[in-house]
Symmetry: C2
Subunit: 96 residues, 2 copies
């Protein structure tokens, strides 16, 4: 399996692991999301301010739960922050 495919499979597995704790296995409750962030991102290189900002926008349809679609977009945004931090600092404002 390629690196990219392993990552896609891992994303689904992480979601399953935390969304599976209550009866609705297809959504992350707020509590499950909190556990995921604590378990998966607490000691990460992700900037805490960036994480807080992205977390506030995660529940796009405001139903109080996080679907897989919302979760995958959350991860995409976190990775954009990580990429920016790694490459841009201030070199490429608005280019990516």
């Amino acid at each position: 399996m390629s690196k990219l495919e392993k990552c896609i499979v891992a994303l689904v597995e992480v979601f399953e692991e935390y969304a599976g704790k209550d009866e609705d296995k297809m959504k992350l409750s707020n509590a499950e999301l909190g556990e995921l962030v604590k378990g998966q991102l607490s000691e990460s290189k992700i900037d805490p301010e960036e994480l807080k900002d992205v977390l506030q926008k995660i529940d796009k349809n405001r139903d109080g739960q996080v679907s897989y679609k919302e979760f995958s977009q959350f991860v995409a945004q976190l990775s954009q922050g990580y990429f920016k931090k790694k490459y841009c600092k201030d070199k490429c404002k608005g280019k990516n």
Copy 2:
């Protein structure tokens, strides 16, 4: 490093690997994107029709190149297709 963070780092590394082939290391050219799809997704469980569909929408600002932001959104969409395939088949139309 957690599973989720490894995936975030891997996403950036895959982008770097293929975007780094020409002088613009911050963008994937069409040729580089083609190589990435061939190298990373050709034997994958990703449904070829789904892949084709998502690829057509990847270049959101239509500048003929793929930024990291566009790439991370592309991967998020692919993983949504993979999640749907794994869970829904037809059980949860419109729920995720």
